[in-house]
């Protein structure tokens, strides 16, 4: 911080007050009310600590486990807990179970996040491991049942938690999208958002003046610590994150929940609570920030690009999102959260209670978190297949008033399956397939205009093959016309073309 402000109180002074039962602790919601009624100056003088909390899906979460040695011992090279793979690039019986790892038998229904919840709940977990066997670790296979009590360590270490805020999501396309932002209805049918907004800990210390490495926190119902900036930490744009750790054995499954996002994958809902010491008026100000002061972009998840390239549909605030309705264009669209405001409130209450009871003391960070960090995209330096690399440029087309019989003859002669239909301006207006023609002949239809599909799924020359292949699979089509800005057909791409290209480039035998 360049601007210095007068210090009101130190962490040591606050801890003394906690010891004597004199500390004034408010939840973030209570602080907002006090600042509104009495002003920031008074709030800063009166309040020692503001408790903030959040409860949401935090994919970059996981737990380090030590299983202990069996006899004879095994150097586990592959390991599963309830059929969910555990990362084994560590010492013999150490592993890391990530929240998004999928069960190899139950798919999207069950994964790492669920195993973590089951461990915390004290449930029995199937442990299976394999090895190649060595002189010192002769065992090659193990299958047994464990509970969290059998583990030497179960330490939650989450590389990225507690996003300060998060872009909201909507969907411009004509079909339902199933994303990590939940179910997105077609034609801007709804908006989903994440983050606790005015209760979020990083919003409450917006300038990173009080929290840092070593800050003691509420984590999953137990005690945890901030161990550094989280991955993708981008505080200068309001997207700060935290890396945290805590002893899983002390935690509570109420605040650690395995979750599945339909047709997307699995994750872990994590509860994080952080005490914000009101050391000066500036911290008092950020601790009083309201939902209507925190801007959020709504992005179009209908565009399958990387997050920051998805078009911004509108900028709103957490207050608008939380009201249940936002306006997009002329339309009023329902909005709802993915993270629980109710649980975030509960966590800030629990943390407040701990402090008031004198069982939770504040720590002074040993190092602050960076206030600036570049967030770079991944540059792809190898040439990648685009539509133009695999499409055929010689396209056989037809006109809507062409006869079915003639069209059928043409596709037989050319050995093709798809016939784009164009108008007199050469613009694409429909498509017929060999199957359409067979059916048309069987039903005695005469002209292509009677049978052609008018809503044509198309591709562009510079689109990635992966994106277009997915589109073809979604619409269950085997050929897709490639068009330019004027809707003129410049090529055609079929599943045959794609498989030929991909076999040529990606497979190494």
């Amino acid at each position: 911080m360049t601007e210095s402000v007068e210090k009101i109180r130190s962490i040591e002074e606050i801890n003394e007050k906690i010891k004597h039962g004199d500390a004034v602790v408010l939840t973030a919601e209570e602080m907002i009310k006090l600042a509104e009624s009495s002003g920031i100056e008074v709030a800063a003088k009166e309040v020692d600590i503001v408790t903030a909390g959040t409860f949401g899906a935090m994919c970059s979460s996981g737990v380090f486990l030590n299983f202990g040695h069996s006899d004879p011992p095994i150097k586990m090279t592959k390991c599963w807990l309830n059929d969910v793979p555990v990362y084994k690039g560590l010492a013999a019986v150490d592993g890391y179970l990530g929240a998004t790892a999928l069960s190899e038998t139950r798919g999207f229904e069950y994964g790492g996040g669920h195993v973590i919840e089951d461990l915390v709940s004290g449930k029995e977990i199937e442990l299976r491991a394999e090895s190649y066997g060595t002189d010192c670790y002769p065992r090659r296979h193990i299958e047994t049942v464990i509970t969290i009590d059998d583990l030497n360590q179960a330490i939650l270490v989450n590389p990225r938690n507690c996003y300060q805020k998060y872009d909201a999501a909507t969907n411009s396309t004509d079909r339902v999208l199933y994303t990590y932002m939940g179910t997105l209805l077609p034609n801007y049918g709804n908006v989903t958002f994440a983050g606790a907004g005015q209760l979020n800990p990083l919003c409450k210390d917006w300038n990173y003046e009080t929290i840092g490495i070593g800050t003691r926190i509420f984590l999953g119902g137990g005690i945890g610590y901030i161990i550094g900036e989280g991955t993708q930490h981008s505080p200068q744009s309001g997207f700060g994150t935290l890396m945290v750790r805590g002893d899983l054995k002390q935690m509570n499954s109420r605040y650690l929940r395995g979750a599945s996002f339909y047709r997307y994958g699995v994750t872990l809902y994590v509860g994080v609570g952080i005490p914000i010491p009101i050391i000066n008026e500036r911290v008092a100000y950020t601790a009083s920030l309201r939902d209507d002061q925190i801007p959020v972009n709504i992005r179009d998840y209908g565009v399958p690009s990387r997050p920051d390239l998805r078009p911004i549909v509108k900028q709103v605030t957490y207050a608008e999102l939380r009201s249940g309705k936002v306006t997009i264009g002329e339309k009023e669209v329902p909005s709802s959260s993915l993270s629980s405001y109710k649980m975030a409130r509960e966590i800030s209450e629990v943390l407040k209670k701990w402090i008031l009871e004198g069982i939770f003391f504040l720590t002074k960070p040993v190092e602050p978190l960076p206030r600036k960090r570049e967030f770079k995209p991944l540059k792809v330096r190898r040439k990648e297949l685009r539509v133009r690399d695999a499409m055929r440029r010689e396209v056989v087309t037809a006109k809507p008033d062409d006869e079915v019989k003639e069209a059928a003859k043409r596709i037989v002669a050319k050995g093709i399956d798809h016939l784009p239909v164009i108008n007199t301006d050469d613009k694409l207006i429909g498509i017929v397939t060999s199957w359409d023609l067979a059916r048309a002949i069987a039903n005695n239809k005469k002209y292509l205009s009677e049978i052609m599909t008018r809503r044509v799924i198309t591709a562009r020359e510079n689109e990635s093959i992966d994106v277009v292949a997915r589109r073809m699979a979604q619409y269950n089509i085997s050929g897709i016309p490639v068009i330019d800005d004027n809707y003129r057909v410049t090529g055609i791409l079929t599943t045959d073309d794609i498989s030929r290209k991909i076999v040529g480039r990606r497979t190494t035998i």
């Binding site: 179910t183 979750a259 405001y341 109710k342």
Partner: protein, 129 residues
Amino acid sequence: MRVRLIYSPDVVEKPILAEAVLKTGLPINILEAKVNAQKGELVVSIPSTGKKLEEVLKIFKEAGVQIQKFTEILQIDYERCTSCGACISPCPTQALKFGPDWTLEFDEEKCVACRTCVNACPVKAMSLP
């Protein structure tokens, strides 16, 4: 009251619902519709009770439409539900919302048992028989 109306092939093309609306003056709301040339199935909400409701149902019965009482009721396991809200905005009939203390609330009368929320729930707290 919500009912499921099942139209047989003989009556599927007749404007029975429109007639019922005109005759009774009740704004019957179609919550869900699956109609093709062979058959039709509608879930409708009839904003009425007692005698008037009987009158509407009679119109459908006499026109050859089979009436089923709506029995699918969404169950929410509040032990698992975290009131996150992931089910709220995807619900096509706005049957789910937050109460004053941000607890998830369910309005049975609006629900059409479409299962959208069952799929959207991250912690599998919703179920339908």
